[in-house]
Each structure stands twice: as C-alpha cells, then as structure tokens.
Amino acid sequence: MPMTITEKILAEHADVDSVNPGDLIQVDVDLALANDITAPMAIEVFEDLGTEDVFDREKIAMIQDHFVPNKDIQSAEQVKIMRTFVLEHGIRHFFELGETGIEHVILPERGLISPGDLVIGADSHTCTYGAMGAFSTGVGSTDLGVIMATGKTWLKVPGSIRVVFEGKLPRWVGGKDLILHTLGILGVSGAVYQSLEFAGEGIAQLSMAHRFTMANMAVEAGAKNGIFEPDDITRRYVEGRCERPGSFYRSDPDASYERVIPIQLDSLEPQVAFPHSPDNVRPLSAVKPIRLDQVFLGSCTNGRLDDLREAASVIKGQKVAKGTRFIVIPGSPAIYRKAMKEGILETFMEAGAVIGPPCCGPCLGGHMGILASGEKALSTSNRNFKGRMGHSESEVYLANPSVAAASAVLGRIGSPAEI
C-alpha cells in the first residue's frame, strides 16, 4: 500500500505493515523531551504514577531554555526540580549553563535526533525535527510524564497536506518566507490534525537551517507535524553527527494526500506576519513604514548560524537606528562560538546590538527583552499572538533574519535591499 513518509515512520514505530489516516496506534518513542516550563509538571505526573524507573535514561532529554539563566526564584525552583530528577534517574541528556541552548536547536546539533525517528516533546515546536525526515510532535506534560514511565504513547495517524514549492528562490527570500506564505494560504487552523509535507524542486537546495525554520512553524497551521523527505543535504548534516544512523524514508509517488498546494517561488517576496496572528501575512512591499521599538533575532525558528550570518551580512558596517533596540540571541553555545570566531558577534555589537546567552529569550515574553504597552517589535520567532512578547497592548511582527537586520538599521520595517 502506498504511504507518505509520515505514515511510514508511524507504521514502523507501531510495528505494523501499514497505517491509514484516522487509525489510532500505539507507538514506541525514540526520544522524549521536556523543558524548564513543562518538565516539572511531567515529573509530577511521573511520580504520581508510582513507576520506579524511567523507561530508558538514554531516551529522555530535559532542556533548560525558557527562563535561563534563571530570572527569578520561581524559575530557579522549576529548574531545581528538573536537576534533582535528572540526577535521581540518571537521565543522560541534561545540559548545564554553558552547554545548554534552545531545545530544538541543540538536540539536532548534538546528533540526538536521526532521520526516521519518532520524537515526542512537551513543547509545541517539537515538530522542528521534521526537517531531518523524523516524525516529531508536541504534547502536554501529562502525556510526557506517561511516556517517561512507559516509552510509549498513542497517536491518531494524520492525513497529509503536501506543499510543493516550484521555481527558484529570489534574493532575501528563505525558509521563513516560505512557511509564512504557506500559513497565509492555510490559516492558523488550516492543518489541524494533519501532517504538512514540504516538497518540490524549489526547496531541494535549502540548507538545514531553513528547513528547521519551516518544520518549526508547521504547528502554527495547527499541524501535528511538518516534514521533509531526507536527501543529500540531510545526509551531509547527519554524517559524523548522529549517534544512530537513522532511516531515510520517502513518500511513495502514489501516496494519497488530502490536499496538494503548489507554490511558485519566482515572484515570492520576503513576508511579514502582522499582529496578532502568524497567518496574517503580507509581502514586504505592501508594508507601510511601521516604526519599531525592538528587533529580536533568535529563537528555535531563526537562532541558527545561517540566520545570524544572513543578518550580519545585511547589518555589517551599519548602525542600529536611534530609538530601536536590537537583541541577538544565538540558539546554542556552539553557534555562539562559531559566530564569535567568524566575527559575526563583533559585527552585531559594532552596529549597536546586545547579544544574549543561548536561550528562548523574549520570544514568549517571559525573559530578556519584554515589551512595554504600545511598543512594536519585529521578531524572527514563530508567534505574534496578542501579548506574546510582553504587554497585551504591544505588537509583534514576524519576518526573516535579513529583514530583521535591515529593520533594526532603518528603525522601521524595511527591506535589506534598502541598506
């Protein structure tokens, strides 16, 4: 029976020959992860279940990234709960400050995810690993607590929507613009309970960083997962990095899709999502001058080395506009150090940016760079819900890293072509 890549990975992990959309299946989990916000509740569930040991101490990752370095006593207590649990159960994948970074950046970077894996995380952006041809999705803390005890969970097999990108990527257009444009077509509930599969010659040359950005935001359409078929670019990324070789699945040519969306790239412009929804997108040329109080470059969406390089190439030799704050947060210590060695951090600081330690930063309005009432920010992150980055009367616009850098210089939303 013809299957999509998502269906093949699910069938493999349910130990059955084939699955159909709508099937309820029980699957084995290759990696379960939680962060400093969701882990304490998952640990409470695990302890309440009364199970003595975790199912596999090698297959659980606990990442401190949302409120680190801890911003207050409460967040320090949350991490302390994680740290105590990690020591007690010998959990292998826990990273202290200096090693830790954004969960969806460091887990692939450290080779803990392989193509063909089934990964479940107590974080909605767990879908990021679809960039590597893995099935990954977010759940709540209770599901994760049960997985820590049993190594299994139940899933409904999603139908698939195939988004096919044709043509060539214009200058200044990248993965962020492709996914924002897709969100504009689908809407924030356009893929609820579905899998989003990204395909076509238009994305064949996309680097892993751009693919991570796209898979990351599949959940913004309500999707269960976002996925790419792994190819030579994936192979180069995983070789010498991943602990396990992984399985490279491809969708069968005659697999069935609930919907196929063709997108022509040749005329695509950088996209901007307006408040207060990631699907409220407009092409950059249709954006009237909007003054910005803050620009944020970073997050699990756009905090990778390629993102920093692109932004640095725009801002090099320029100055951040007076009255605008520019916050740059590399997604991991490895990215931070490479950016330092390449002179990228110097470029940003020379321009007047402030560099933060690897963490989620102001993306969710909890730490480092929170907005006051009436302020406007442009962010490379994934969500611009009302109040997302601070006061409920603040506004967030989403865009790609080069638009972010240009906007920091201009003090308003603008194009890198203007610099």
Partner: protein, 168 residues
C-alpha cells in the same frame, strides 16, 4: 456527569498565551495559574468565574503552545466544561489527560450567548439552556475517553485501572 453553570463566551483561535500568559509559567501551582487565567483577554474572569461555569468558544480553541498550564488554569479556576466549534490538537489531548470535560458543537458555539444558564450532560453530549428552548447535541465522545474524564484524568484513570487488576 452533569455540569451546570453560566456561559462565558469567547471567539475563534483563543491561544494558550491568552489563556495563561508566559510570564506566569515560572510556576506549576494550579491555583496560582487559575488566578491569572485569561488575565489579558478578560480581566474580570478570574474573580468572576463560579464553580461549574462553562466556556463557549469558536474554532481552534487552545491553539499555540503545548503548556498544560492552560487547561489546568481553566480547570483550577472552577470551570466545569469547555464547548467549542473545534479545539487545537494538543489542547484537546491535554484536556482529557487532566480531566477537563470538553465538547465540540458548532450550533452551541453559535447560539449560546454570554451569561446563558447551561446544563451539560457529558455522557450524552447534550447541552441545554435551562430557561429556554436552546438544546444542542455535541459530537459524541468515545466511552474510554469519557471514562478518563470521569476518573479525573489520565493518571487517575490508569491508577484506577491498575487497582482493578487491569493492565494500564
């Protein structure tokens, strides 16, 4: 399971940042979370909500982050059930996992107004306005999922099943 309370109306795409803003995610205590539920969207909610009250919303309720703090804040505030046209995937799962009754009904979502006195039968899926003629039948919930809610959530359900000698 019968839930009785007043309707609080919400629109489409109510996201988890609106249900419980991230600035309160440095705690896991459910009562504390309940005190900030819908703080930015409806500042009158946390103080005004009464035991058993029912939220009635549009499409994609609970979209956004996976924070289980969101359904917990709603439940700990005393909300008896949530009725919506549809729910976001992770919220839907988590609501059952923590024992918060939720039902999907397009008609109920459209026709119920703020303050309606409602009675909801979780077993039959019937939603009734107690003083008028409004009556709706929600999309049925499978028996095993109703059992999870009736047990008070997935952990209680598994423990109960284990106590009865069943394999969880």
């Amino acid at each position: 399971m019968i839930v009785e309370g007043r309707a609080w109306k919400f629109g489409d795409h109510v996201d988890t940042d609106l249900i419980i803003p991230a600035r309160y995610l440095n705690v896991s205590d459910k009562k504390t979370l309940a005190g900030h539920c819908f703080e930015d969207l409806r500042p009158d909610f946390a103080l005004g909500v009464r035991q058993g009250d029912i939220l009635v919303a549009g499409v994609n309720f609970g979209c956004g982050s996976s924070r289980e703090h969101a359904p917990w804040a709603i439940k700990a505030a005393g909300v008896g059930a949530v009725v919506a046209k549809s729910f976001a995937r992770i919220f839907y799962r988590s609501a059952f996992n923590i024992g918060l009754p939720i039902l999907e009904s397009e008609e109920a979502s459209q026709q119920i107004v703020e303050g309606d006195a409602l009675q909801l039968d979780f077993e039959t899926g019937e939603i009734m306005e107690r003083h008028g003629e409004k009556r709706f039948l929600a999309r049925p919930v499978p028996q095993f999922m109703r059992s999870i809610i009736e047990a008070g959530g997935l952990v209680a359900y598994v423990k109960k099943a284990q106590g009865q000698g069943l394999k969880a």
